[in-house]
Symmetry: C2
């Protein structure tokens, strides 16, 4: 079935407000999930909402806080997320960086004790709207084995980078795993095999069986290089945020544990010259116009696909699994304990 | 043949001094090249020296300058490299960041008009020796095609990251191409085919012929993700350093053009707590001890191989192509115009 952005936002926001989220915080969290749906990334969309609601009900998420910050040095902001909603704490951190970075040129927020941010693209795009460069990294539970290894020792450790241009910003958002665990679950659910390069089973052996891979570990993307990037992000986040390392991380995929991963947000306001933005978009257009390997598949630039899918979704709505939509509707509390002017 | 670090340093330094490099600058440039040899990366070693010497002789490198800096904002240093020796300008930039970063927590140098840095690992390792995190990125001439593309539009755009721990730092240094052009040249020279995933020929077609690949373009590493990282680095460097974009970059592989690529150096002095370093090295040890895919190939951590090779090279010397060693000796100018106390 298809639903519109407005309908999705209304339900997601209401479910959060019913569980004592401030209206503003509910809208921020719902916005990140719905944005992922619009861009065609349902793995980071509304399917995450039931777990978020359960975590609020169990006191693992405090939907009222924006986290507490302190400047560790002139351009580094240390944030205790106080178990807040991931996007709420992260957006508040970006707000705090905004003024400082106009003086320092580069500034960073290092966040611990915060919940899952969802798609990192969201945050760096927000920064790029100000004409600034944004970088974001997160750590996560151990799901990825080292290159040449067989046991999950690293998180999927995503990184996102947005660079503003005279046109649309370049927006990169990648997990350092070869594939998401969500995709492996999807293969398992539909009984399809997976390529042998994707994963290992619980004993560390190679497997093409998605159900076995679910219990095992995912390969890093790009062999030794992708593994290298993933482990560097693992250390950067832990060193700067003071958060746990992957084998000890909990609370990003369950509704039982306080979330102890970390996030880094870096904002750079230091373009070499005002004319650069135009040169960057001209270059990206040259890349897009360069000859493709397959005649009917033009060369893309990171963010192009998401932008296209978002435009279609805003016009026509986006697909959602009817079972998920029914589940979400069933999570509505009635009578709603906290309405705050919203209709339940 | 094998030569020792001392012998290699003496010759490389002498050749540079003979071409009017200050002794200190000659040692810095020679050190970066010899360090690459010690670590088993001859593609970034002494084979680059003849071109550097030719560039000095043609006025494309000024071996006397350290570049000129100006603080674009409180924590962003803008460097005009004044056509200096790449490592000399970069190390001077790191020196200038040192004091500022102890106050700002994070600081960046954006460098244009500078020559090739050589292995980026060198710079971030230098930063890690101070107990700080280092990141380095460079742009370079167009050698890499986009994922799904067929024409060289991106540089090999390397990134290096060092994170200090209680033991050795983690040191990542990777080009965003699937393989170096040096390796393709080596296959061509020895008449060996290359895997089809490595490169395309000058017409953009797939090829396993190394000689054809030399005239064509290299694939990005890690398919769409590695391409995404490469193009993000392309834009970050150009936006912040004010340098050219890959299709317009010259002077990293020739002895004819002024070098117009850019470099970024980021230093972070903001560990969450003094105890972090020990937790990081414990984690890396757990990764190293995790079960490998091949029993005789233990899991590695970025930088482990280079460290091992360096130890062996310091003890036993390193292999060098006798023809290259003879070529280098033949480049000695006699009588030496500037001796500065060195014997020619």
């Amino acid at each position: 079935m298809k639903i519109t952005e407005t309908t999705a936002m209304a339900l997601a926001t209401r479910l959060l407000i019913q569980r004592n989220a401030l209206a503003e915080n509910a809208k921020c969290q719902a916005g990140v999930l719905v944005e992922a749906e619009l861009k065609g990334h349902p793995s980071h969309g509304l399917q995450r909402l039931p777990r978020i609601l359960a975590r609020i009900e169990r006191g693992l998420i405090d939907p009222a806080t924006k986290g507490e910050g302190r400047w560790r040095s002139e351009a580094v902001l240390e944030i205790d997320g106080q178990k807040g909603l991931g996007p709420v704490v992260a957006m508040a951190a970006l707000d705090r960086l905004r003024e400082r970075v106009s003086v320092s040129g580069i500034a960073m927020a290092a966040i611990r004790n915060n919940n899952h941010l969802g798609m990192l693209a969201h945050y760096v795009e927000h920064v790029a709207k100000d004409g600034r460069i944004g970088l974001a990294m997160s750590s996560s539970e151990a799901l990825v084995h080292p290159f040449g290894g067989t046991r999950a020792m690293l998180g999927t450790n995503p990184i996102a980078i947005a660079v503003p241009t005279a046109g649309r910003p370049l927006v990169l958002d990648l997990a350092t795993s070869i594939v998401s665990m969500g995709k492996i679950h999807h293969h398992a659910a539909t009984g399809r095999p997976i390529p042998e390069s994707w994963a290992r089973d619980a004993e560390g052996g190679p497997t093409t069986d998605a159900a076995s891979a679910k219990l095992g570990s995912i390969a890093p993307f790009g062999e030794a290089k992708g593994y290298g990037l993933g482990i560097a992000i693992e250390l950067l986040v832990a060193a700067l945020a003071g958060s746990a390392l992957a084998p000890d991380i909990r609370g990003t995929l369950d509704a039982e544990a306080v979330c102890n991963k970390g996030d880094l947000l870096i904002v750079i306001d230091a373009m070499a010259a005002p004319t650069i933005a135009g040169r960057l978009s001209d270059y990206l257009d040259r890349v897009r116009a360069s000859p493709p390997a397959e005649v009917d598949q033009p060369v893309g630039v990171p963010g192009d696909g998401a932008t296209r899918r978002r435009e279609v979704s805003l016009r026509e709505g986006f697909d959602i699994d009817p079972a998920l939509w029914a589940e979400l509707n069933g999570l509505s509390l009635s009578p709603s304990p906290v309405l705050e002017g919203q209709s339940s």
